[in-house]
Amino acid sequence: MNIEKNKRISKKLKESSVGIAGLGGLGSNAAIALARAGIGRLVLVDFDKIEESNLTRQYYFLDQIGKLKTIALQDNIKKINPSVLIDVYKEKLMKGSMEIRFRNVDVVIEALDTAETKVAFIEEILTKLPDKPIVAASGVSGYGHSDRISTKNLGKLFLCYDENARSSDEDILVAPRVGIMANWEANLALEIILGEDR
């Protein structure tokens, strides 16, 4: 272990914040990864409750079915790293005001489900908060083909991308690939906050 590097990075992460839009397969797993890494503050936004079918990939437990994802994820993070400051907003993102909860975070993670909301959210963040880095994901469904995934960078947008994946409407969503994409997003957020690991 490089103690100096560890100290420097812990300090920087402790001072940093990430906002996550959507707490499904991408958002719940990305939040847990960032909490374990030692992020200082998380802003978590979702309106939904946990269903049994979510447990194939989302970071929740059987005894949390029926609970709000915001509250359950906050509980789960506290069991891992109680020092993370967490702001939760139980609300649906509405076109025209999607950016408001993310004004005061260092990095935004898009972790929404439909292509329509993904595009709407990315466009609003890029146009209304032009200096804000945003990490998004496209092509999470299916299994295998891990090495088709790559990072696309378009200005402030960092996209975890598999252009050959099918839509989740006509495919399956399972833990390994969703987890890879979620952790890829969290890893990009760390890279944006800390700078490239040289």
Binding site: K118, S138, L154, E163, A165, D169
Partner: protein, 66 residues
């Protein structure tokens, strides 16, 4: 007289809008993010913005799942 679309070199067409370019490239995905040079083009402007000569165009499509 050419432009680069997702690293592919293609012919530049005068007065061609983003919408027309997407059609010419057969990018039929309904939901895309388009960047010309360093600028993100909002979808609402696809039929108004012309693609300039020598520009570098990135087209990324969003797929449901999260």
């Amino acid at each position: 007289m050419s432009i680069e679309v997702n690293t592919r070199k293609v012919e530049w067409v005068k007065n061609e809008t983003v919408k027309e370019l997407l059609k010419r490239m057969k990018y039929s995905f309904p939901l895309v993010v388009v960047k010309i040079n360093d600028e993100i083009i909002p979808r609402s402007n696809f039929s108004e913005v012309y693609v300039p000569n020598n520009s570098k165009v990135s087209v990324i499509h969003m797929i449901s799942g999260g």
